[in-house]
């Protein structure tokens, strides 16, 4: 192979699209021929610059990802990604008799409005998409770190998140979205050795509800042991001996539900806290 043979083949050689025999001939020529090496280097540099140029200044795909997730039709009707996760979360409650800890993070300790009423309010934001806000995520992560201690893999990966949650399936899907809850973020985590799903919802009034779910193996936190490192807590309400709501010194409100039978029961707990 001489230069006039090799030059037209260089780019195909560099694209790794050449048969082994010809490639070895071009390779041998390149080792001997400085001029062709210069050309090959220029080709490589052009592709490298191209890759760099193509990778720069790309749009943020988070909102697009949320829209795509929100468009995924599930079940017999179209569901949003919120529905996907929240329904699964509620299914989890129903299917597993799970330990469910619902945390209400209130800024000023104000009342939590009845979620079902908020869902029907004209002012309620449509719970149409996942909203991975940085600020919300940071808040959820800080809260999560304080409470759970250990992060699971792939935080912010709602795909993995949904997989984890959707492992719990049931033919009685119930929908927290109906309560006007809008999914902000979520990630898998552990409390102790027990895997949990951590979902953060936003109420129409802007306050956030942090929900930790586990399939099995979880247990109710007891008194000061609960997830807030021994700070003073006030018991707000009890419900049928199966759920307890607390508020701590930071205004974080929490309801603990055991063996919840339905979404309605979860909503009842949320209503109890106000």
């Amino acid at each position: 192979v001489n230069c006039s043979d090799a030059k037209p083949l260089l780019q195909i050689y560099l694209d790794n699209e050449m048969d082994a025999l010809t490639a070895s001939q071009v390779d041998a020529h390149l080792r001997e021929c400085a001029a062709c090496r210069v050309v090959a280097d220029a080709y490589l540099r052009q592709d490298a610059l191209l890759r760099e140029a193509v990778a720069s200044d790309l749009p943020d795909v988070r909102a697009l990802r949320a829209r795509i997730l929100a468009d995924l039709p599930l079940g017999t009707r179209r569901r949003t990604a919120v529905g996907l996760l929240s329904a699964a979360a509620a299914v989890l409650i129903v299917a597993c008799g799970a330990v469910v800890a619902v945390y209400i993070a209130g800024s000023g300790g104000g009342p939590v409005t009845e979620p079902r009423q908020e869902a029907n309010s004209p002012a309620a934001e449509p719970p149409s998409s996942v909203e991975p806000e940085d600020e919300a995520y940071a808040q959820a992560t800080a809260e999560h770190t304080r409470m759970a201690g250990t992060h699971g893999p792939a935080p912010r990966d709602l795909g993995a998140m949904s997989k984890m949650v959707m492992n719990f399936t049931d033919d009685r899907p119930v929908d927290l979205e109906l309560a006007g809850l809008r999914l902000v973020t979520g990630h898998p985590c552990h409390i102790g050795e027990v895997p949990y799903a951590h979902l953060v919802y936003k109420l129409p009034d802007g306050r956030r509800v942090s929900v930790y779910l586990c399939k099995s193996g979880g247990r109710l936190p007891k008194g000061r042991e609960t997830l807030t490192s021994g700070e003073e807590q006030v018991e707000l309400a009890q419900l049928d001996g199966r759920a307890v709501a607390f508020s701590d010194a930071h205004g974080i409100r929490r309801a603990v539900v055991v063996d919840a039978a339905s979404t309605a029961e979860v909503l009842k707990i949320l209503g109890t806290i106000r």
Partner: protein, 184 residues
């Protein structure tokens, strides 16, 4: 398993397998069709992909499958225009356009030259040189013979070289004379 559970599993699988290619699809769509159109194109791609998800064979190349859908969407949106004719004409225009002298061969200058290429040329360049598809995969994605992929790729690279080569030469020429005038 109930319908709900089955659908949920499908959606879960779709989100896991297909959505991980979102960044790449947006990158390719952005560079091929521009930022304004890219998001809509990719969203429509995923809508179609979900619609035909039952036809996707697990274990096969989901990325190439998604790219094929993306370029179907692009072709459909372009609507019946013979892209090859358009490309050749556009290329002729691109190569004779007056080009301002660049400060140096930086990424931004390179990008400026890249966007002057016709859409078909950008597409094949991105698919092969950036996204790493083989000629054969690119031919399937673009729905053209492999020979067309190779010729487009060759011409695209040549066009890019010509565009880039013209810039420094103009720059040097202009600057030199300007400097000389200043010196005088």
């Amino acid at each position: 398993m109930t319908l709900f559970a089955q659908k949920s599993d499908d959606a879960d699988e779709f989100a896991r397998v297909a959505l991980k290619h979102l960044d790449e699809l947006v990158r390719t769509a952005t560079r091929t069709c521009g930022k304004d159109a890219a998001e809509d194109l990719v969203q429509e791609t995923y809508m179609r992909a979900w619609k035909y998800w039952h036809r996707f064979e697990p274990g096969t190349n989901c990325r190439a499958w998604l790219y094929t859908i993306l370029f179907n969407v692009i072709r459909k949106r372009r609507g019946g225009v013979d892209s090859r004719t358009l490309s050749i004409e556009t290329l002729e225009l691109a190569t004779v356009l007056p080009i301002a002298p660049p400060p140096s061969l930086t990424v931004s200058v390179f990008e400026e030259a890249f966007v002057r290429l016709p859409e078909d040329f950008r597409a094949v360049l991105v698919l092969v040189a950036v996204e790493g598809f083989s000629y054969k995969e690119a031919s399937e994605i673009l729905g053209v013979p492999i020979g067309t992929v190779m010729s487009r790729l060759h011409r695209a690279r040549e066009a890019l070289r010509r565009l880039l080569e013209r810039k420094p030469s103009r720059k040097l020429g202009n600057r030199k004379s300007a400097d000389e005038r200043e010196a005088l």
